[in-house]
């Protein structure tokens, strides 16, 4: 484990997830890691899954069409449409599950990613907004159920998380 900040929470309506994390690298490198297909594919999918980007045009109105590939070779496609980009500061996209022909399954979720650097460390703040709760659930169900051993926290902790905000 490292001592870099990691913060994960949901808002009270359970519609927005916030994920904050610090990285021990300069901003331009972290920005590249989030915005370049070749680098993204190296870390985006939690192992043993892998990420396969078929199309990536990183510009406003552009998109990333990619699959999460299971160890058995099963592909789960998604398309991320970039809605705004402020270089090395922020970008936003609409994420939707899709079939292999890029037909999206709407509604999707709205992602907002912020980048800032301090003392050589880069902080990335991600917020993900889902209009429907079922979809938030689906994001987890899609492929990730297997492969993760989970630890159960106590009920008190859950209630604390929900009431903190």
């Amino acid at each position: 484990m490292n001592d870099l900040l990691f913060d994960f929470r949901l808002d009270k309506s359970l519609k927005t997830a916030f994920i904050n994390r610090e990285f021990d690298a300069e901003l331009s490198l972290v920005w590249d890691a989030f915005t370049t297909a070749e680098i993204l594919d190296q870390w985006w999918a939690p192992k043993p899954w892998s990420s396969k980007t078929k199309v990536m045009i990183f510009e406003p109105g552009g998109r990333r069409f990619y699959a999460m590939v299971s160890p058995e070779g099963q592909e789960r496609w998604s398309v991320q449409k970039y809605t705004s980009i402020s270089p090395k500061t922020n970008f936003k996209f609409l994420n939707a599950f899709a079939d292999e022909n890029e037909n999206p399954e709407l509604p999707g979720s709205e992602w907002d990613l912020n980048f800032s650097e301090e003392n050589g460390k880069t902080k990335v703040s991600v917020s993900i907004y889902n209009e429907s709760l079922e979809r938030m659930e689906k994001m987890i169900e899609m492929g990730f159920k297997e492969g993760f051993s989970m630890t159960l926290n106590s009920l008190e902790e859950l209630l604390a998380t929900l009431s903190k905000q």
Binding site: F8, L29, A33, M150, L152, L158
Partner: protein, 106 residues
Amino acid sequence: MRRDIFQAIADPTRRAIIALIAMQAMTPNAIADNFNTTRQSVSKHLRILTECELLKQEHQGREIYYSLEIEKMKEVDEWLNQFRKIWETRYNQLDDVLFTLKKQKK
């Protein structure tokens, strides 16, 4: 109709009810005393929570006591943990990638 456990806890009044009866089993009247709303509206929330299997009822004499299904709450907790775990794993992988990229740059 399938009731969704996440719909159940997304409502602030229902979350407050959960927090209340997590401490002790309570009657519908005792629960309603904690809210500035009609008993009717509290019973509606209790019904939804019951349909989600988050509450169990116990009859003691003429009174009904509601208490929390802890196991069911754990499902929510498990789900949250999975989500958290995805991001933890993903970002730990990114740490490794960044480390490699930094070395290549030197």
